[in-house]
């Protein structure tokens, strides 16, 4: 099957294009044909019930999961696959490494490296992947850690940091790579309620600074405040999308209404 025509990188074209994405795990189809464009500087939140495929969609974007069919474009370039005679074949993790440098991914469970300090966590990729010198990497690292409000913790190991602090280090770690696109996979779901705020504050700041963000979240209010567009997914498909005012306040689709009502009742 031929992918849609290539787009040339330009400010007018979407930074992220997802085209016809399907993903099945064994016999279970988790994504049933998703198309999504995200413009440069746009903030898109994805909401929906568990099992709707939103996390899988996010993980497909940087090929932590390999789509069963469909294509992903970053800045007009097809990523994750290469053309062979007759079709397309997925790239290996080694080949994907270069493409992943431009996509930042924040995990639900932080996944900080326990054997490195906060500063170590933030500088290891700039040093070993981008090839920055130790001084440059540390300069950038300190800057990012200050940005997320953790200058006083740069030499602490993850086990001594609270959940909220760990997640902020994880965000700083991603920022240090200066990615074009940032993906947040339920970044606050694993946090105690009183720690959620500090992480949302950082995410809000990034949004205001113009980062391109795709945020999978349960925090509906936050999604409404920060996003340009809210996407509601259910059973592997996009059911409805639009400005927060439309989707969250006056949703068109019955399933969207049910989901939001269900959340309010809790």
């Amino acid at each position: 099957m031929n992918p849609p025509p290539q787009l040339s990188p330009s400010p007018m074209n979407p930074l992220l294009r997802i085209a016809g994405l399907h993903k099945s795990f064994a016999s279970l189809e988790v994504l049933s044909g998703v198309d999504l464009d995200v413009a440069r500087g746009e903030k898109v939140s994805i909401i929906g019930p568990s099992g709707s495929g939103k996390t899988t969609l996010l993980r497909c974007i940087n090929y932590l999961e390999k789509p069963t069919s469909g294509h992903i474009y970053i800045d007009g370039n097809l990523i994750g696959e290469k053309q062979t005679n007759g079709g397309y074949v997925h790239l290996s993790d080694r080949e994907l490494a270069k493409e992943r440098q431009e996509i930042g991914f924040v995990f639900q469970r932080f996944n900080l490296f326990p054997h490195l300090t906060a500063l170590g966590n933030v500088t290891i990729a700039p040093q070993k992947v981008l090839g920055l010198s130790k001084e440059e990497a540390e300069r950038r690292g300190r800057e990012m850690l200050e940005k997320v409000g953790l200058s006083h913790k740069i030499n602490e190991y993850p086990e001594r940091l609270s959940g909220g602090q760990q997640q902020r280090v994880a965000i700083a770690r991603v920022l240090a790579m200066q990615p074009k696109l940032m993906l947040f996979d339920e970044a606050t779901s694993a946090l105690d309620p009183e720690l959620i705020g500090e992480v949302l504050r950082v995410m809000r700041q990034l949004a205001e600074e113009g980062s391109t963000m795709v945020i999978v979240t349960h925090e509906i209010q936050f999604a409404g405040e920060v996003s340009d567009r809210v996407v509601f997914m259910d059973q592997g498909k996009i059911v409805e999308q639009g400005p927060p005012r439309d989707v969250l306040i006056s949703p068109q689709q019955p399933r969207t209404r049910d989901f939001l009502k269900h959340l309010q009742d809790r």
Binding site: D93, A97, K98, R100, I103, N111, F113, P114, A125, V129
Partner: protein
């Protein structure tokens, strides 16, 4: 038994230095075998987790065989068989000492391969994902993120293995190596004092291997607190 203190009082000033001299050979062999075992263990741990079914099978076969054989039999095979199977090659390097090191190393390599493998697999999948999401190749992820952590995890069982290795060197006496066991044998039979001499040798083995086994136990406890 009550004579033992007298026996030792009379002879220990002769026996002990001689036995300690042999014990040095024991340490020598154990150290060399340990290094060899670590090298072999790393190689086969990696093979065991490779994506190729063939490599995985080869590694499993080696590990099962090397662990399933009695060490004595393995030593005999390593020491006697190769020159018979490949008479053309130069076997001058294969003497009792090197045969012992290679035999113990092959056995230890299988044990360590399993230890290394479960150490690497014990790490949360998320660590590897976080590393590759940052743009690291699998190789870099292994070198900077997985292996450093795995090293910490495997240290207690590896230390335990080392403690066992020191005791296993006693078996090398059966292919003629002049280490502590053989030394004890010659003194014991020359002077008709088997009980006293062998007990003394046992004590020396104990002093050599016990600190390692205590260290392993201590590390194990400290690590489980860190969780």
């Amino acid at each position: 038994m009550s004579q033992l203190p007298h026996i030792y009082a009379e002879n220990i000033h002769r026996w002990l230095p001689e036995l300690l001299h042999y014990a040095l050979y024991t340490l020598h062999i154990a150290w060399a075998a340990f290094l060899l075992a670590v090298a072999i263990g790393l190689v086969f741990a990696i093979l065991r987790t490779s994506r190729s079914q063939l490599l995985r099978t080869i590694a499993s076969i080696y590990i099962e065989v090397a662990r399933g054989l009695p060490i004595v039999v393995l030593l005999f095979i390593v020491y006697f068989a190769p020159p018979q199977y490949f008479p053309g090659l130069n076997w001058r390097w294969l003497n009792d000492y090197t045969g012992a090191v290679v035999g113990l190393g092959i056995h230890g390599g299988a044990i360590l391969a399993e230890i290394f493998r479960s150490g690497i697999q014990a790490l949360h999948k998320g660590q590897r994902e976080a590393a590759i999401a940052l743009g690291m190749t699998p190789a870099k992820a292994m070198a900077y993120i997985i292996l450093p952590q795995a090293l910490r995890i495997v240290l207690p069982p590896v230390t335990n293995y080392a403690s066992g290795l020191l005791k296993d060197t006693a078996l090398c006496s059966l292919i003629g190596v002049n280490e502590l066991m053989n030394g004890a044998k010659s003194i014991a039979f020359a002077e008709y004092q088997p009980m006293a001499v062998f007990l003394l040798a046992a004590a020396i083995y104990f002093v050599m291997s016990y600190p390692l086994s205590i260290a392993a136990r201590y590390m194990e406890i400290r690590m489980s607190h860190g969780r």
